[in-house]
Amino acid sequence: MVTAYLTNRILQSLLAGVALAMPAIPLSAQSFRDSVELEPVVVTASHSPKALKDAPVVTRLITLHDIKITDATNIQDMLTQEIPGLEFGFAMSQETSLNMSGFGGNAVLFLVDGERMAGETMDNVDYNRMNLDNVGRIEIVKGASSALYGSNAVGGVINIISRENLEPWTANVNTRYNFFGHEWRNGASFSFNTKKWNSQTSFQHTKIDPVDLPKPYSSEEIAIELLKKAQGLPYDESVLNDDSNLSRLYGQKSYNVKERLTWRATDNLTLIGRGGYFFRTSERDTYDYHFNGYSAGLKGRYAWDFARYLELSYAYDQYDKANFQPDGTRTHDHDYSNRQQVAHALYHHSFGKNSLILGADYMHDYLSTYQFADNTSHAQDNIDGYAQFDWNITERLNIVGSVRYDYFSASAQKAFTERLAVVYKFPWMTFRANYASGFRAPTLKEMYMHFDMGNMGYMLRGNPDLKPEKSHNFNIAIERTNRIRNSGFLDGRYNFTIMGYCNIFDKRITTIDGGTYEGMESALYWNEDGITVWGMDFSMGHIWDCGFSLKVNYSWMKETGKVYYSDFYQPRSHSMTWRVGYDHHFSRHYALDAALSGRYQGKPQSGRKDVDQGYTIWKLMLQHHVWHGLTVITAIDNLFNYKPKSYYYCSPLTTGTSFSVGLSVDLDKM
């Protein structure tokens, strides 16, 4: 035992010595390790920077290392691999839908650096706009957060935080090829940092070819069974029943360019300007969809001292959609434009260990769409004010209370939301209890839609009398983080969190049978009775000093009440993600960062038997750091070749094992 211990210590010392002697081949896992040791700071749970361990509400943090090792292209890829209880699916027209722990996509608020995005695809923003090339971390707060973020923060907030490099300059070019859909992803980024200026520029291009999803049976096999049936011979009925919702994934291309410029004008004043342009085409059989996104913003922050600062900002975001024929002619029958202008004011004042935040926002929301009568447009204004007090009563006890008032001009609706969070730190664990209310104001589309679905004689009708959706979220959590020393192989740092929650969700906006309208059948937007979602989230991580790491996240949820099951997603009671990692310097010129990850989705809660009855998909990632600044990335996705029998809206979009290879060059490190 003692010998084994000594051997282990000597081995560790040798490895440490070797590591010190190594050239500076960076391992992204090292930044992960650093972030754990240095206790990362998060902002989403309290609208101001706070150490993760002190956050008043459980915050799931996706680090830069997580982003790099998963090799995700956009937020959809990333969340799919990391967050259990979250599932993306397809709707008609292959627009993406989302379900997170029983909440639909429009109940989850996506933010980029705290700012909303305009536009929608199926039930939320265009996830392709949120590429990860310049992202530093992602913070996820499950449950309601409307007391800080207003409408849509009913089921959770996902905040994507941009990276801010502090080196004098950095430059990176990268490319990756995936055999699935012959997908190419190419990116470049550049940053510089001086005493006064900091600039971050990024560009990304993606291209994926159409993918024909395999059918369970060929047309000939089906015809043969049909003939047997017609002739009265024994036949296989299952061959004749095709439940597939999807047969072909459309190809697409995208371009995404972003710039963020920070000017530290004085010790007190910082100005941040940003701009971005996004373009995507979805290439259909008979026409193409074109999507354009434009964003710009200016933020000023004046800090009198460490205790007081004021932030004023203006943000503009526009998202347009249009259809084009193959010859390049715009059809103008699917024109859509959503423009949002937001002005924020936030004042922060610390009183010793306590702090007060006062904020107010004004948002102008404009929507012009072919789904309105006569292609007209509608607009509405949203004004809100909020306050939060962060009260550190003792070293162990912290209470955070928030209140917010929102007013929406189009519906003349008001919403008053609040949150109370209590954190108590025992010597051996942290206890959290939280109540928060949430709301979602009816959108312009839900209020004014007047749309004959695809000229098929079926009307979708808006309802100007809709009330806001409401939610009440209660959760309690325990968390423990600790370091193990002098215990041989277990030496390292671990943490685990268990959270139980209850979400009471009422006045959900959905569609009901609208009877006959203008001679057509119709559906009408309506407030429906609510549901209650019960759930439990468990997450744990262990980072061994010897280079191994393990992360496991498990989620259980159960919906009760007037539950509706959409064809587009199938909430699952049990789901899990995991990742086993290993990083090591093997020589002066070679270091490896490896990860074996997986995700499990259990049976649909609906009891439907005709959709995927649970599946597991594994992925192996290898990042080879072969020279200064040069990294070769290889991945095998769907390692064990899972193939859905039929492709439903909620099926994993895989045709079996696929491979990808990429190259990333940090020019500043060469």
Binding site: M92, S93, Q94, S218, S219, E220, I222, A223, I224, L226, L227, K229, A230, Q231, L240, N241, D242, D243, S244, N245, L246, S247, R248, R284, D285, T286, Y287, N323, D452, G454, N455, M456, G457, Y458, M520, D567, D610, Y648
Partner: protein
């Protein structure tokens, strides 16, 4: 002897010619092209499945001759009112015969069709398999019409009138 031999040879030749003639009378029956064996109207049940939802109706498929070894077919009109998908011609289904069964295959056919209001719509019919056996026909096909973002999976079983 020589004359006898010649007579024998002449008889043998006559017999050969007669026998060949009798064989020839069979071959002279008109050859029916494989397409001609299957053209006609077939009435039966069509099942159209859209994104997993099936709809069944009684329809007539009209097969016409394209060439000796190919047929064309009109996929019948579907739906009513503004949801109508007009009849869609599909041309060039290549036939092969094996025993009593004639199988037709076509990978893809692209065409345009005018709707009731005169608008021209593009459509694609793919993965077509047709099997004729006696008076029965079965058809499997995939059709995509206009800007509809989804495909119809079609099955048809019919008998010739």
């Amino acid at each position: 002897m020589k004359i006898k031999s010649l007579m024998t040879m002449a008889l043998a030749m006559m017999a050969f010619v007669v026998s060949m003639s009798s064989c020839g009378s069979d071959d002279d029956e008109p050859v029916v092209a494989v397409a001609d064996q299957v053209v006609g109207s077939y009435t039966g049940t069509e099942v159209l499945t859209v994104m997993g939802e099936a709809d069944e109706s009684t329809e007539t498929f009209e097969f016409t001759k394209g060439s000796d070894v190919s047929v064309d077919v009109n996929l019948p009109k579907y739906g009513e009112g503004m949801m109508t998908v007009p009849a869609l011609p599909v041309k060039g289904i290549v036939l092969t015969k094996s025993g009593n069964t004639i199988t037709g295959k076509l990978d893809k056919y692209e065409g345009t069709v005018k709707t009731a209001d005169g608008t021209e719509k593009a459509y694609t019919v793919s993965d077509v398999t047709v099997i004729f056996s006696d008076k029965t026909v079965v058809v499997k096909f995939t059709q995509k019409y206009g800007n509809m973002p989804f495909a119809f999976e079609g099955q048809f079983t019919g008998t010739r009138k």
